[in-house]
Each structure stands twice: as C-alpha cells, then as structure tokens.
C-alpha cells in the first residue's frame, strides 16, 4: 500500500501534473505567445514545425540542447553553470504548489481547498523572487557589459515590483480569509469581488515577468541579448525555458488567485481531467491577455518603469488593499459573500 502511494507521488512529481506536464505547458504557452504576437503584427508566425508550428518551441529547445556550450574565459564559472539550472528548478518547484489538476503536486488532499497548507501563497511568491535573483546572478556572472546592465535592470525592476505584487496578492487572501492557495482557488472567482485588484495584478505581473511594456531588461535594441548575451547551448536553453515557466507561473498565479483556479463543472467523475482542462483554458486566456498587452504598448524608459512602480503602482496597491479590507469587513463577510 505504501509502495503504491509512493509510486503515485513519483508519477505526480515527474509526469502529471509535475515536471513533464509543466514543461510541455510552458512550451505550449510560448507557442501561443509567439503565434498571437505574429497575428497582432499581421504575420503568420511559426507554421512549419508540427501542425500550425506547435512544435516550434520544442524544436528550439532541442536544438539549443545539442549545440556547442561555450564558456568565455572571464565568466564566474560556478555561477555561470549553476544559475540557469537553479532558476529553472526553483520555478518548476514553485509551479508544483499550484492546484493544476485540482490538487497541488505534492499534496494528498482530495478537494481543491485541502490541496495546500496555510501560507504556501507566500512561499511561492518567495520562490519567484529567488528565481529572479538567480537570473540576475546568471547575467552578472557572464562577464559581459550588456549582461551586466541587463542584470542591474532586472534587480532594480523586480525588487521594486515585488512589493506591490505581494500586497495585491493579499487581496484574494483577505477575501478568502486564508493564505492557502487551495482555499483561495476553491472560492468564487475573486475577479467578481475585486476586479480592480485583478487589473492591478495583471499590470504588476507584466512588470514582474519583464514582459512589455516593462521589458527594459531585455530591450534588444539597446542590450543585444540582455542577460542571455553570453549564454550558448544547454544553458541558453534552460534560460529560455525558465522564462517560459515564469510566464506560465505568473499566469497560473493570476488564474489561481482571481479566476478560481481549476474549479469549474466536472462530469463523469473525472475530476482531475476536467480540473486540468479548466485550469489550462483559464491559463490560455490570461496568457493571451498578457501577449496582447505586450504587443500593443511601446516599451517604457527605465525611469518611467521606476516612477510607475513607486509613485503609481505602490499607492494603488495600498489603496486597493484598504478598499478590499473595508469591503470584506463591512459588506462581503456580513452578507456571507466569498467565504
């Protein structure tokens, strides 16, 4: 019996909904992202690799894995080798806390609400921060002026935007009355109760993921390849993959906190299947919104990014939190909404 449970756990970690599933979900989301970008620019986008070009990200990944791995002389070898892989591992680990198929990967709970523990919301936000910091280290260790500038920008940006991100992420937690992701995901979609926080969260997430219009750390016109400039082969593959998983993680966080996570109607007793379908569908919607924002707005300057952070988003996040607490205390909870 114990062996059975262990096998199930190993399967959950390695195959579904763990490592392999998240890997392919990340590649799939990159395809959606690239396809939408192409359509918005009136192009076709990748079309040759697989039906509709759906295997394009996979082809890129395999190709990078098989390329020569160059380590320039002046790099800090240990960090240069270790940082991309560590960032990728931490992002995958953070994904494992999200209730993708109705329960988080590591949990043994049976319902969505029981799939986590109190406080795992803070933990995955911290993981996201650590992964960003490892990306900063990766650029810093590459001994390239462009990589260094890009790293400095990454640091400036994510340290600043982490504060409003944490504050806004608390909004659904206050309504649900719990810091457990499972409990938050099991409630009503909180976009209905706090739409302003949803908008703010999407904007902050966009900045946290360094996507447009906040993509100053990656601006190709100034920084060549950004912090990836010196990376080749497998290391570059994992840096790309880390970015993909980060995008999926950010979107999945939006889905879990504001769109009710994997909840939705389930049929035929196939709970895990329908939960996964609902989760992925909602994820695609958020990825599409994010891709739209990225392509429609022009890139901000670095000073505008900082002003936007400290003078606009931070006060807005605090106001949003105050509004939420007021509403929760005087309106939602007395009338039994959202508990």
């Amino acid at each position: 019996m114990i062996a059975m449970i262990d096998l199930l756990l190993i399967f959950r970690i390695l195959v579904f909904p763990g490592f392999t599933f998240i890997l392919f979900l990340a590649l799939f989301c990159e395809w959606i992202d690239r396809k939408l970008e192409a359509r918005i620019q009136n192009r076709v986008g990748p079309i040759v690799a697989g039906p509709g070009g759906i295997l394009q990200p996979l082809a890129d990944f395999i190709k990078l894995l098989t390329k020569e791995d160059i380590e320039p002389r002046d790099t800090k070898k240990l960090v240069f080798r270790f940082a991309p892989l560590a960032a990728f591992t931490i992002m995958i680990f953070a994904m494992c806390f999200l209730p993708i198929d109705g329960a988080s990967v590591l949990s043994s709970g049976t319902s969505i609400a029981e799939s986590g523990f109190n406080g795992d919301l803070i933990i995955i936000l911290a993981f996201a921060t650590i992964a960003n910091f490892l990306l900063f280290l990766a650029g810093w260790a590459s001994a390239n002026p462009y990589g260094t500038i890009s790293s400095a920008r990454v640091l400036t940006q994510f340290l600043g935007y982490d504060i409003p991100l944490y504050i806004i992420a608390l909004t659904p937690a206050f309504i649900a009355g719990s810091l457990s992701i499972g409990v938050i995901a099991a409630g009503v979609p909180y976009i209905l109760l706090a739409p302003w926080a949803f908008v703010l969260f999407i904007i902050t997430m966009q900045a946290e993921l360094e996507k447009g219009p906040f993509d100053v750390p990656h601006s190709e016109s100034e920084l060549v390849g950004g912090l990836e400039t010196e990376y080749t082969g497998a290391k570059l593959a994992f840096l790309h993959l880390t970015r993909d998983v980060q995008v999926v993680f950010g979107s999945a966080l939006v889905v879990t906190l504001f769109l009710g996570g994997p909840s939705g109607p389930v049929f035929f007793g196939l709970d895990w299947l329908f939960h996964t379908i609902w989760f992925v569908l909602k994820l695609i919607v958020v990825v599409a919104i994010s891709a739209y924002i990225t392509n429609v707005f022009a890139r901000l300057r670095i000073d505008q990014v900082l002003t936007g952070n400290w003078k606009i988003l931070l006060p807005a996040a605090l106001l949003s939190l105050m509004l939420t607490i007021t509403l929760v205390t005087w309106v939602y909870h007395p009338f039994g909404i959202g508990v």
């Binding site: 040759v48 070009g53 395999i62 190709k63 160059i70 080749t232």
Partner: protein, 166 residues
C-alpha cells in the same frame, strides 16, 4: 535521437546578420524578410542579436580590411554547428569592389561559406530559397568542400592581420 537532433536543427535556425561593408541594399532585403509580407518566422527562423545564440551567419557585403578580423571574431563566437550564408554579389565574390585598395574580397576569403546567394541585391524570395536549400543539406552536410574552403581562408586572414599591423 539523431533524427530528433537533425529535425530540431532544420526547424529552428536562428540567424545573425553581419554587415562587413555592404552598401545597405542587401541589409534592407534581409530586414524585409521579417516583415508581414515574407515573414520568415514561418520556418522558425529568428533574427538573433547575439552571435552566441546564432546558427546561421547572414553575411552581406564585401569584406574590408577593417572588418575582416571582426567578421572572423563574430564567426568564432558562434557555437558549433554553424553555417554561413553569403548574401549578395559583394559577399559572394567582392563584386565590383574586388581589387579595391581597402577590400579583401568576398566573405569566403575570411570564413568558410556554406551557401552563396547572388544578386545585387538578391530578392527576399531568393534569400528564403537559399536558406531553405541550406537547411535541406544539413542532414547530409558537404563536409569536404567546407574544409577545403576553411583551409583556403587561413592564408588570406594571415595576410589581413599583417596588413593591419603595418
């Protein structure tokens, strides 16, 4: 496994564009490849900013003495396996600038070239055709020819270096 490797390489060639002395005509045609009309991303081809990420070097223009060493260095920075496409009459042979006091000659005087796309400038369709023909040869690369060219390139570069020092 080898099949997957070849498949991935053919489906995802990332290109780097280097101008070693072109009149900008060829460069504009390369940029045209990225526009909605020709949209080269259909084939998974991406224009990469860093030589470290690139698989294919799109070289335009005849090579000037100034640029020869830079061209060689950019080529050396690319990870294996790598390919060079010479785009335009100048890159193929030096064209009308052949024999000029400041010109080494075509790109193949400095680095081994895998494919030549003549034209002044070549049409974007011709460039797409050339790149795709290059990709179709990846599964059976014409190795001997490449080595011969690489061998031929060395003395020219040594000469360039000497000239640079003088």
């Amino acid at each position: 496994m080898a099949d997957a490797k070849t498949w991935a390489r053919v489906k995802s060639p990332w290109v780097l564009h280097f101008n070693s002395g072109a009149c900008n005509g060829c460069d504009i045609e390369i940029v045209a490849l990225l526009t909605p009309k020709y949209d080269i991303e259909r084939f998974g081809i991406k224009l990469e900013p860093s030589p470290r990420h690139a698989d294919v070097l799109l070289a335009t223009g005849c090579v000037t003495h100034q640029c020869a060493e830079r061209l060689k260095r950019v080529y050396d920075q690319m990870p294996q396996p790598k390919f060079v496409v010479a785009i335009g009459a100048c890159a193929c042979s030096g064209s009308v600038f052949e024999g000029n006091y400041n010109v080494v000659g075509g790109v193949d005087k400095v680095i081994p070239v895998t494919a030549y796309i003549p034209g002044c400038p070549p049409r974007p369709e011709a460039i797409i055709d050339g790149v795709l023909k290059l990709l179709s040869t990846i599964s059976t690369p014409p190795k001997k020819e490449k080595q011969v060219q690489a061998h031929r390139a060395e003395p020219a570069l040594a000469e360039v270096k000497q000239n640079g020092k003088q």
